[in-house]
Subunit: 455 residues, 2 copies
């Protein structure tokens, strides 16, 4: 029964791609409030598409910041299972804009890849799901299962309001299982099921010194330099062996078993050097890059600024300096506890003569791990293999999807992470893209999967 | 004979101040090429004023970047000494602009202080000299000595072309002694003669990692973070005792004698804490803040940037990070040698997995020290004391004036550093200002000084 839907996707490929381009053309950047109206436009696009397909009760739910798009399909009847489909329509900022080869919000296909911010993370994958629902509805007149759609506009800013929303509307979002496509395959066209995700937390450190920028000749030697102090604090948090040197950071982390090391070793890993354009990898002493990335906690400085950044030199002692830090966590680490450890460390090592502020990232997430041999996950794996004609691998990944932890926490239902991205998609970076063959095979996978649910 | 000139300054005070405001209103920022036409306008203002006063051969000398204003006065005759008067009409950038209480280029008087970029460094002090020359010419019909005027437009960017200019035009600029007012008094209305200045050098460090910003979830654990690497490099260059930990940095530095420590101790020092708005000073272990600032080398990070600096968080591993560093040097330290030591250190400690670029600041200067009891310096001290009604103190200061070292190097003539700024002028910072009573008493000092030269 999948053939008709697949034929529909083939026959309507150009029209659907055009529709996707229109969706990607909306600069729905959630970080920056100047894009609020674009966020609204992207949400409205999804609402109308869902109504068009035949979903009921499609609406924008106000969250206080960016709306959540909800819709449901109940025609499969009480005996059919209900799936909660989650995705997000907001995207990362585009800076540094000058590094984009084509405009981030003017989708362009080059060498079989669709270039646009959000093409992979996550607007492209959200669109694939809707197109598949459309194909099945148009060809079968109904979907094989009931669906609840939850499309968020705040994923890239920590899903600020989703957590409360899921708690307050428990009944509305309740389902038998959840499906999320906001992740990737370990290699292009290598069917991949995620059975583990990292948690996430972060802090922002600001070191304040003099109440105004000072002339380095008049005050150098009498005043602590806030940038110097910040670098001394940061350098004390991770050593050149890539080991985090904050007391207690690794407490409770379950050791990596030999079995799991083998499993990770066997995963067809990408070539980090080539993908990142570096001459040498760097990972935690005692672990391979793949082990560290997939199964060990990380500590990254995402941004730093202070003092003069213009052309030439300006001989000042600046009044302050700031660093943004995020950590990816593994099972056994509690995000709030980690924030506390980081804050304590910073306060402890801060030199005299400056004051230090630590701002804690409001939303964090614990790491997540699921049992790979659940039947719903097995069916996903089979559909994957059928579409891509390749055995599915099961991996843990370094990324964090807070909603996964929350859904498990609130509903305790199986979560199927069906990601179609590839390691070269440049998520969060200039020139984000998504391969069109993954787009086609991914939709094929979804058609098989939905039709297999009741078998 | 000084009375007439002083009376003239009193009678014409408002008109001259208005003229100064017009001069300060020109945004002659030399760092940023968008201000090139303003630089030209400021230079032309000075040329016309010099002609107006009665100087000969007033002209803008092209340097390849910003013009140098030259003029001369020879009517004092062959028996009278010739002074080389140096100053600069370019100013520092104004950012962070939002911290200015009044617009940087709209001069405004509040509580007896004139607020404007350049009011103290150095346009205000240059103007005082011209106003004094005007006063003497108008009342005496002639100046008591011959004058060569050298007003530069590139001081805030390292006097890029002045060095060559002074070498190429040895004859043109040759004089019996030099007078420079580009410095300050150790306390408001405390006559101060500088007998020592620090040298200056700098480098810019850029750490390059991945060829594009990376998703910290997909690559964290496999790739060296350029910001982390930069902080590790910087933190290894100075410790929390404010001691520079770069091999050889202190080689050749002459130890601070007990006599000099006493001299420095007796200088009425400013209250660093109050002036900088800090709770605690920080200076090199074994030295007081005053000793470190006046007579020990310093190492400052003037600016740092890398990765995401916007609102919220962006979970990336950035592709690069940069820091701007300048050092103030003391006698015994060679600027080029210091640059080499800094570069060697950076290259040595840079961790694997990143590449490091070190850009050397093109122009540097050695430190300078002069014999305080030279008659021309004694006469300056007496004029100072007479005008401010206070004993003159002799100090070394942390600032650098490259031209001082060059003039000594090329002409080997005494250099009188007659500065009228105060510690609260906020040079190089938002809300730069200059006290109007220092302005008045400073001009009085100059009138006495010029008239004392032939006594």
């Amino acid at each position: 029964m999948s053939e008709k839907a697949l034929q529909y996707l083939t026959d309507n490929r150009e029209r659907l791609l055009q529709k996707l381009y229109n969706f990607l053309a909306i600069p729905s950047v959630s970080t920056d409030s100047v894009h609020n109206k674009d966020i609204k436009e992207a949400a409205t696009f999804l609402q109308s598409y869902l109504e068009e397909i035949g979903f009921e009760n499609a609406k924008l739910m106000e969250t206080g910041k960016h709306p959540l798009v909800y819709a449901e399909y109940n025609e499969a009847g009480p005996d059919a299972p209900t799936v909660l489909f989650y995705g997000h329509y907001d995207v990362q900022p585009v800076d540094p804009i000058e590094l984009w080869e084509s405009e981030p919000f003017k989708p362009e296909v080059r060498d079989g890849r669709l270039y646009a911010r959000g093409s992979s993370d996550d607007k492209g994958q959200v669109f694939m799901h809707l197109a598949v629902f459309e194909a099945i509805m148009k060809t079968e007149g109904k979907l094989p299962l009931n669906v609840k759609v939850c499309l968020e506009g705040e994923e890239e800013i920590g899903s600020e309001n989703l957590y409360d929303m899921l708690h307050e509307k428990k009944e509305l979002f309740h389902a038998d299982f959840a499906v999320i496509s906001d992740s990737g395959m370990v290699a292009k066209n290598q069917p991949t099921i995620l059975y583990g995700l990292k948690g996430f937390t972060g802090i922002e450190i600001t070191v304040n010194g003099p109440d105004h920028d000072l002339h380095s000749g008049m005050y150098g030697g009498a005043v602590r330099n806030p940038i110097m102090a910040l670098t001394q604090i940061l350098a004390s948090m991770k050593n050149t062996d890539e080991v985090v040197t904050v007391d207690g950071f690794y407490d409770g982390v379950e050791p990596l078993s030999e079995d799991e090391r083998t499993l990770i070793k066997d995963v067809p890993g990408e070539d980090y050097k080539e993908a990142a354009g570096i001459s040498e990898t760097a990972s935690e002493k005692g672990y391979t890059p793949k082990e560290h990335t997939m199964a060990r906690p990380t500590f990254e400085i995402n941004g730093v600024y202070g003092g003069y950044q213009g052309e030439g030199t300006k001989t000042i002692i600046p009044s302050s300096a700031t660093a943004k830090i995020t950590c990816r966590l593994v099972p056994g680490q509690d995000p709030q506890k980690i924030q506390g450890l980081l804050e304590d460390h910073v306060k402890k090592v801060a030199p005299a003569g400056v004051t230090v502020e630590v701002k804690k990232e409001k939303l964090s997430a614990k790491a997540y791990k699921v049992e790979p041999n659940h039947p719903l996950i097995q069916k996903a794996a089979e559909s994957y293999t059928k579409a891509f004609d390749k055995e599915t691998v099961y991996v843990r990944m370094g990324g964090s999807i807070p909603v996964v932890e929350w859904i498990e926490d609130i509903y305790n239902i199986p979560i199927v992470l069906l990601g179609f991205g590839t390691p070269d998609d440049r998520l969060h970076s200039p020139n984000e893209s998504f391969p069109l063959d993954s787009y086609d095979k991914g939709m094929e996978t979804l058609v098989y999967y939905w039709n297999s649910i009741n078998e």
